[in-house]
């Protein structure tokens, strides 16, 4: 079964990326975590994302485009990255979610991936 692990970080946690004193520990933990996922053979695909400051939001409302620069003030947790993993059970996916560095500095959402429609072309 495939699950998406959606890594949300608090603003303070994301800020550690740019803090010279905290950045080595921040990246050390993430590199080790992603490395352990790859070593265990569960990774289908995934990426970390650049800072929420780099985000741009596009919306079409009443036929009118609205484009907004990030970061967006209306959230206190930001998407920091995502991985799609293939595990035997949801319990295993939850175990990997709990190991993410942001599990204790934000949250990890676990969502089953929608299977492709059965009438999809082969």
């Amino acid at each position: 079964m495939q699950y998406m692990l959606i890594f949300n970080e608090t603003t303070a946690e994301t800020g550690r990326r740019d803090d010279p004193a905290a950045a080595p520990a921040y990246w050390g933990a993430w590199n080790a975590y992603v490395g352990a996922m790859y070593e265990s053979g569960i990774v289908v695909s995934g990426n970390g994302l650049q800072s929420p400051r780099t985000a741009i939001r596009v919306r079409v409302e009443g036929g009118k485009r609205q484009v907004q620069d990030g970061p967006f003030a209306d959230t206190h947790e930001h998407l920091g990255g995502y991985f799609i993993v293939e595990t035997v059970s949801l319990d295993d996916a939850l175990e990997w979610a709990a190991r993410a560095p942001c599990a204790s500095a934000g949250s990890v959402e676990v969502r089953p991936v929608l299977p492709p429609p059965t009438n999809a072309p082969a």
Binding site: A25, G28, E39, D91
Partner: protein, 400 residues
Amino acid sequence: MSDGVSAAAERVARESYGRLVARLAWQWRDLAAAEDALADAFAAALRHWPEQGVPDAPEAWLAAAAQRRLLHHARHVRLTQDPRVTALLDEAEPEAPERQAVPDARLQLMFVCAHPAIEANVHAPLMLQAVLGLNAKVIASAFLVSPAAMAQRLVRAKARIREAALRFEAPEARELPARLAAVLEAIYAAYTLGRHALDSPADDLREEALFLARLAAQLLPTQAEAWGLLALLLHAESRRAAQFDAVGRFVPLPAQDPAGWRDDLIHEAEAALWTAAKLRQPGPFQIEAAIQSAHAQRRATGQTPWRAIAQLYGVLVEHHANLGARVGQAVALAESGEPAAALALLDALPLEAAGYAPYWVARAHVLGLAGAPGRQAAVQRAIGLTDDPRLRDFLVAQLG
């Protein structure tokens, strides 16, 4: 509602929940119905006690109220027309029933929860719910399972108890050791979850597990392993505060200051282990408790007897091999001056060790003692596999 009344209700709930569920489930052979009836009884108590005052025997009051719910239900579904049963049906609110000893059926309930007909991974959750009344959401968080899935597993297990008509009776003498082992394993699982997780609700679970371990030893005083488990948990508990320094950083056992260990708990643990030893029934929990007792010697002598610890792990691995014991054996061997032998032990471990954070922590430590390469990579794997943020920070600091 006054705070005094709800505090009294909570106290009664904590002290007597398991006893009441156990007795009702035993009488009615239906764990789920017993829990529902008791929940109604607690709700009734919160309605009536503020006006009428807390009864002299609150537990008996709750038992009577729950009993009536069950009788109502039984009559409603026409399960019984027996006049002896309906005669018991008292419509009035209970009036200060006599103070009476509620027979302690909690042990039977624990045995039912750890019955071989129920999947092993539900034993501990079921026991926590049935004996202590924890709700599925709290249990799910501690066991890292989705709350809906945990609720479903618990419901399924209770249906299984009803369908299979599992008997709420103590197991026969010949099956007692196996059944007791399952009960003790479940309590141990609950404790280790509570210990490794950092926040409530799992932190509460640790206390609940200690409570269950004390209860099991008290209700089965002639079973050495029940005392062994209690000794093991008390030793672990005695060092809990010393595991973290003033700013909350993780401190591994060899670096802990024994002055921070709790004397009262160590003494209680040693007394429990002594009680176990006198019964002359060796078992894995007693060996693990003996290992922890050896670590506790450092408080008196300033030295950790690593060679003795390695030998105890050897006995444990020989008779009750599991991954944790093998990893512990390797560390003790390395600490007593045989890092090469320790490394060979770790190399021989089965594949599933690769997903076990303590294995990589141990491997890094043994590689360091052996002066062999690869320590850094092992620390990396441990960081990636641990779900404990304080252990992660400790390991990240070691990357240098």
